[in-house]
């Protein structure tokens, strides 16, 4: 199982995926995992009631699969797992999970870093957040371009 890429429309528990993914790669040296959640509570995130992620089925999952293949080709991985939510989520719910299994930690950590930067900046998702009962689209951030530029 070198590549496992999924879009999920319902809440998920990261441990349910990371455990089996780890066990599917006997002989590995390490697994790096990033789980992103709907942030809330402070500063610019105060007052966020819900987040909605919209996607375009003919392109979103194929794009994520191509990104997984790029990470597999670029880093010395045994496998990669990418899970992304769609639909309406509340604060604290996982949005995204990336796990990379490798014989050596550097490849696993760098692959997660690379994949997260590209998922955030390059993938076909449109987000809006609800505050005070109103939905607001989230625009691209300059930081996303800077993140991508790190990978040359």
């Amino acid at each position: 199982m070198a590549r496992d890429v999924r879009l999920l429309a319902e809440p998920f528990n990261p441990g349910q995926f990371v455990g089996p993914f780890t066990n599917a790669h006997p002989g590995l040296g390490g697994v790096c995992t990033f789980v992103g959640e709907v942030r809330g509570g402070e500063g610019q995130d105060a007052g966020v009631e819900a987040l909605e992620l919209l996607h375009y089925p003919p392109m979103t999952l194929p794009g994520m699969e191509a990104l997984a293949d790029e990470a597999l080709a670029r880093f010395d991985l045994m496998g990669i797992l990418i899970i992304h939510r769609t639909g309406v989520m509340r604060v604290g719910e996982p949005i995204v999970l990336v796990s990379a299994a490798a014989r050596h930690r550097r490849g696993a950590i760098d692959a997660v870093d690379f994949t997260m930067d590209h998922l955030k900046s390059d993938s076909w998702f449109w987000k809006r957040e609800r505050r005070g009962g109103q939905w607001h689209w989230i625009e691209p951030r300059e930081q996303d371009h800077a993140d991508i530029a790190r990978w040359g």
Partner: protein, 80 residues
């Protein structure tokens, strides 16, 4: 038969619908004629991409869609 137009992200708000059918064949000028006002401006924006049947166009003014094709209008993704 016709061309299915899919409005993604905030373009759906501007269009007032998520999808709309236009007569085939459809080229760039035909698309612009069908989307006046703020929606047309957003479609013209260099940051809005177009895909036909899931394949991005390098040059959206080269749009050439036939019967049964799906044309997606893709505003910038939201990032992170």
């Amino acid at each position: 038969m016709s061309v299915r137009i899919v409005f993604l992200g905030k373009l759906a708000d501007l269009a007032g619908v998520a999808e709309r059918d236009l007569p085939a064949p459809l080229d760039w000028q035909g698309l612009l004629d069908a989307v006046p006002g703020p929606l047309g401006e957003a479609v013209r924006s260099e940051r809005t991409r177009i895909a036909v049947n899931g394949a991005l166009l390098a040059d959206k003014s080269a749009l050439s869609a036939g019967e049964g094709d799906e044309v997606a209008l893709l505003p910038p993704v939201s990032g992170g």
